[in-house]
Amino acid sequence: MGDEKEIGSPGSSMHGVTGKEQTFAFSVAADQTIPTDPTAKFTLPVDSEHKAKVFRIHSMANPHMRTFHLSWISFFTCFVSTFAAAPLVPVIRDNLNLTKADIGNAGIASVSGSIFSRLVMGASCDLLGPRYACAFLIMLTAPTVFCMSFVSSAGGYMAVRFMIGFSLATFVSCQFWMSTMFNGNIIGLVNGTAAGWGNMGGGATQLLMPLLFELIRRGGATPFTAWRIAFLVPGLMHVIMGLMVLGLGQDLPDGNLGTLQKKGDVHSDQFSKILWHAVSNYRTWIFVLLYGMSLGVELTTDNVISQYFYDRFDLNLHTAGTIAATFGMANIVSRPLGGLMSDVAARRFGMRGRLWNLWILQTLGGVFCICLGRASTLPLSITSMILFSIGAQAACGATFGIIPFISRRSLGVISGLTGAGGNFGSGLTQLLFFTSSSYSTAVGLKLMGIMIVACTLPVALVHFPQWGSMFLAGNDKWSEEYYYGKEWNKDEKDRGLHHGSLKFAENSRSERGRRVVSASTPPQSTPECA
């Protein structure tokens, strides 16, 4: 039968897969033909698995859009609590008698915890389902946020920030949950929007915490008590969101964990093989480094930017926080924009376009970071910061426009490794540039910008035999089937385990850009192999 696709829906020109889906273990490979299931009684049109085919942001329809909103708001809450200390550091450093090294180490600790928790979260989603994985994490880290009220030394401060940082693993549950609810055609945009709006919490907290501090202080508390009381708010947000996820959420469109386990036996791959194919692919490690220079520097800047404005330009806490907030809030559009630009570049130039797009965005981010470090007037500083934020965050979105193509079999592990690499990059840049007393925050920003530009150069080394790289064209003698088939040995191929990869390979042919005949095929025509 002919393909039935809505004209103009994202990815329809690619015959099924946008290529931006982030599938972790247990999500079923997207089907090429996605007929709408007429028997399903959902508000949104759904496919045969009851995953939504459209993404309506304003809707709260159960379960798809409700899940989207629960998911991104939970992730947002965790960002708020992880970076809640940053705008209050000028008060905390006096209360706890911190040195610059103490503040730097606590910042590193705040992003290090989730390196491990993000890796573990993938397995938790498989075992418990995304609803419980998210709720468990967010409600078990609520006590760590409340612990801030007990802190009385540099060591305690660092330990609490480390524990709160575990909650950033909600990134994984958020993306996983979206994959169970939304069809592969639109999963790229959905995931990019959910991740971007969640990351926005790093900006919102720079506004929220000084505001709370000011209100509590005016209510009569002394500064050294007011900041502790202010921390009750992110903690309560954790509890409320956890209860809402438990009460209103569900793992799958049709219900909860039991059904998931029934469907889960479609995919029964060996974890050791998946892991091997992820770590032996050199592209994985280049992207681990690159994501550290886009998400990593974004998290670092969330931690230091408010202090920078407070100390360098003598602004008060509230004003410094407001300016710093614009950095994180830019995520509302810039991360989805990066993904969109990647898609647009791919339509014309294929994978080479995606790689160039990533290099340009991330390098521009680095250049504006250098400008931010060198700026000596407030207007110039704010302008540089905004341009830096757009560059770095769009690069994050662009990165996840390429990740799904590195491997089909090991996509989950590669996504998890890349995410962990982002956090590692944040810890590393804070250690190198913002912990030592021998140079100021402004000089640290300049040096970080130079590191971004230098460490983005390796993207030129990423080469796909069938699609090429930044400077080398792809060779037509290599096919996508060969590249994705390489991950399976003869025995596995004989048992037919590689068919999902073959389907994906066929759909990814549009990454050749305008050279591909199929890219110009009108969406309604029947593909030859139907």
């Binding site: 610059k100 078990l140 209860l243 007393s437």
Partner: protein, 201 residues
């Protein structure tokens, strides 16, 4: 007449130059004598203990040196040991950018005779080592002279302040209760769901 006019013009120009030039600490003369009650090495408790200050003009200087002094402002300033590894308390010669003295004690109109003041250490003063400094301000609010309780290298006669922790028993109890609620409700939901699943099978 001509010399009078010249004098007025040159005085006016020098006044203009004085106001457009940024004031630096090294340009100030130490014409004030300032004493504070804490002994060297004494530890004061924030929110409880007092500091009694006394300041006057140093009479060894020529009379008339205090003609421009309009206000005296007394500040609590960080000693070098509390500035180490803390760039936000750095000493810079240009007074507008100097961060040595961040806690104002009192601001009073200037009188050449001996003035005293007793101050209770505020609760928002951080735990650190301090000395006290007084600036004499002119009518434009610019520093024209100073006096301090320590020597030029800021090594003698320093005292400490022990800050409040900021913790309160009621806050600790509230945190503990909310944490317990979070864990209990999570486990409650989880086991209730498990029981429902078992009973429906």
């Amino acid at each position: 007449m001509a010399t009078n006019a010249c004098l007025v013009v040159s005085l006016w120009i020098s006044c203009l130059l004085a106001t457009t030039h940024a004031a630096t600490f090294s340009s100030l003369q130490r014409t004030l004598v300032l004493t504070a009650s804490p002994q060297a090495g004494q530890v004061l408790k924030a929110g409880e203990d007092n500091i009694t200050l006394a300041w006057s003009l140093n009479t060894t200087f020529a009379s008339g040196i205090d003609s421009t002094y309009k206000t005296i402002t007394v500040e609590l300033c960080y000693a070098p040991i509390s500035q180490k590894d803390r760039g936000w308390r750095k000493t810079v010669d240009e007074l507008a950018k100097d961060k040595t003295c961040q806690h104002n004690i009192v601001k009073k109109p200037y009188t050449s005779s001996n003035t005293t003041f007793t101050w209770t250490v505020r609760k928002d003063v951080p735990g650190a080592t301090y000395f006290v400094r007084a600036y004499a301000l002119d009518s434009a609010g610019k520093e024209v002279a100073f006096g301090q309780t320590t020597d030029a290298h800021k090594t003698t006669n320093l005292f400490e302040v022990e800050a409040i922790t900021g913790r309160h028993v009621s806050l600790d109890i509230a945190s503990a209760c909310f944490s317990a609620f979070s864990i209990v409700s999570l486990l409650g939901f989880f086991f209730m769901d498990k029981r429902k699943a078992k009973s429906s099978k």
